[in-house]
């Protein structure tokens, strides 16, 4: 039996001063809205907001520039190196990188940046054109990708160095929570096949197109413990009785399936007092 670690994330507390400092770095106006669960700095065209540690997007920082357009073709998108450098400096300056991690967690942070192309069709020719620049930091925990909107660093740039969009979702602390049995991928596949083949009206063969083990949090925070846990992302080719020439690719489906289990209820960690 293989085991795998589960971790508990603690999101950063709201800090008005540091958010206003970050807003200055984005040359953003100083209209501030504060609630128990979030703080936002905004002006006519732009918003920088950070969710509190108990909000559904616990700790997520989002910046949106309404003046730009994420879907537009930018004539001269910022060079990827420059975008990556700006993002790295911004994260460092405002302490927005992932916080302290447990000794049992080996964290890798892999910066990336690239130009994203659009394709234009004029009725005759397809033309691939640079549209914008994307930059970010991929996280890997104990060799597995960390995936999901609450553990993401991503920025989009247009023609200048100030981003059109910035999404930073990282923890302040990552602690070991428990070790559990790792559900084997072929057990997941077998269970999926059994459950789908058993369905009335739909006893066709299914195909697993892809199965990936990742660390992920729940899409939204629903209460402590806020786990960063292993999940399988399974791409399933749906069985389909084609009523017309449905091409070579039938509908696919993405499933997020927990990849851990505790052998007995007693294996669940005892509740701990909040810090």
């Amino acid at each position: 039996m293989s085991t795998i670690s589960l971790f508990r994330m603690t999101a950063p507390q709201i800090n008005r001063e540091s958010l206003q400092h970050a807003a200055e770095g984005l040359r953003l106006g100083d209209k501030v809205e504060v609630s128990a669960d979030a703080i936002a700095v905004h002006d006519k065209d732009r918003v920088l907001v950070r969710a509190g540690a108990c909000a559904k997007f616990a700790g997520v920082l989002l910046y949106v520039n309404h003046r730009g357009a994420l879907g537009a073709i930018h004539e001269k998108p910022v060079e990827p190196e420059r975008a990556g450098r700006w993002l790295g400096e911004f994260l460092n300056r405002h302490s927005l990188r992932p916080g302290k991690v447990d000794d049992r967690a080996k964290l890798e942070a892999l910066p990336w940046s690239r130009v994203t192309d659009a394709v234009i069709f004029d009725g005759k020719e397809r033309k691939r054109v640079p549209a914008r620049t994307d930059a970010g930091v991929r996280l890997r925990l104990n060799g597995l990708a960390v995936s999901g909107p609450r553990t993401r660093i991503h920025a989009v740039f247009g023609n200048d160095e100030l981003p059109l969009m910035l999404h930073v979702a990282v923890w302040e602390r990552l602690e070991h929570y428990a070790d559990a049995e790792l559900v084997r991928s072929h057990d997941v596949v077998a269970t999926l096949e059994r459950s789908i083949r058993g369905r009335r009206d739909c006893n066709l063969t299914i195909r697993i197109k892809d199965i990936r083990l990742v660390y992920a949090a729940s899409e939204e925070f629903h209460g402590s413990p806020d786990l960063l846990a292993p999940y399988y992302l399974v791409e399933l080719q749906s069985p389909y009785r084609a009523s017309k020439g449905d091409g070579d690719q039938g509908p696919l489906q993405l499933l997020k399936i927990p990849a851990w289990r505790f052998a007995t209820q007693n294996d669940w960690p005892a509740p701990t007092e909040p810090d």
């Binding site: 936002a40 969710a51 004029d122 909107p149 009206d201 992302l233 449905d246 091409g247």
Partner: protein, 295 residues
């Protein structure tokens, strides 16, 4: 089998129409003619009889509908789910469909269920058939959709793979323009995904909240109204994907333009600029642009 279903469905629609159709007539900035005010329709399917069942599509589409109707003053034209969601509502009349009676009565339509590069899927026991197909699926010009001849400006498809750039149909690569360009008959934008995406409850509500400028309340939970600028249509779609979906999921948009239009800068009606409709043949050029957004 379909008889009672048809009658029941149209009776409901007739009643709803009677209440709302005269409630909000306004002048259209695009044409100067009197048209119905901002209207939204949604269709969703959880209970497929021909594909894997889904779980959250009623909440997903319902959230979009609720946000626009109950928080932004839109008129809700229809919210059809499962056996009441029909492929026929999207299909052009020349193929026997009734798009002018349904999706073309709305400014924006949101569908959520299964999708593929070939199109998006319905139950197999509802009119007309189970797939709104693109061109080249069953014939080079046999696509079901020719949209934008009525009110429809935006079609949001919260489904997998529909805007995948390249796809093999019948052994030949048919790219996103082969499959969907002919669907634009005044339509501004199709918003969808190039990859698979998770079946979640929240995308519709968040997309709508970015559109109407309530996203600080809806997404970030501010308990008091905070007025910020709404996002553009395309930005709202990309931000929805960004805050809902896992890494490597890729949203995308396909928009059309011609002389005098700038559909990439559209806001939802009532929240900013909306481009004139891009009409084919109205100028010397016409183009379609595909833009992806990887999460």
């Amino acid at each position: 089998m379909c008889g009672p279903q048809v009658r029941a469905r149209h009776l409901i629609r007739y009643r709803v129409t009677g209440v709302t159709r005269y409630a909000a007539i306004t002048a259209s900035a695009r044409t100067g003619r009197c048209v119905l005010a901002r209207e939204v329709g949604v269709e969703w399917i959880n209970d497929y009889n021909n594909l894997n069942k889904l779980t959250h599509e009623h909440e997903d589409a319902g959230g979009f509908y609720d946000e626009l109707v109950n928080h932004d003053g839109w008129i809700g034209r229809f919210n059809w789910g499962d056996s009441n969601a029909w492929e026929d509502d999207f299909k052009r009349t020349s193929k026997g469909g009734h798009a002018p009676d349904w999706v073309e009565t709305c400014d924006i339509v949101y569908f959520t269920g299964h999708g593929s590069p070939s199109g998006f899927y319905f139950r197999s026991d509802t009119p007309d058939d189970s797939l709104v197909e693109g061109d080249f699926v069953s014939g080079p010009t046999n696509g079901d959709m020719r949209l934008g001849t009525g009110d429809l400006d935006w079609l949001a498809l919260e489904v997998c793979n529909t805007l995948q750039l390249d796809a093999t149909l019948g052994g030949v690569n048919r790219d996103v323009f082969d499959r969907w360009a002919e669907a634009f008959a005044g339509l501004h934008t199709i918003l969808s995904f190039t990859t698979t995406s998770l079946d979640l409850a929240t995308p519709g509500r968040y997309f709508a909240a970015f559109l109407d400028g309530r996203w600080l309340n809806v997404v970030f939970g501010f308990p008091f109204p905070v007025t910020v600028s709404p996002l553009k249509m395309i930005d709202s779609w990309f931000m929805m994907a960004e805050i809902c979906q896992p890494d490597d999921v890729e949203a995308a948009v396909l928009y059309a333009n011609t002389q005098g239009t700038d559909t990439q800068n559209d806001y939802a009606w009532g929240h900013g600029h909306v481009s004139p409709d891009p009409i084919r043949g109205a100028a010397s050029w016409f183009s379609w642009t595909w833009v992806p957004h990887a999460c």
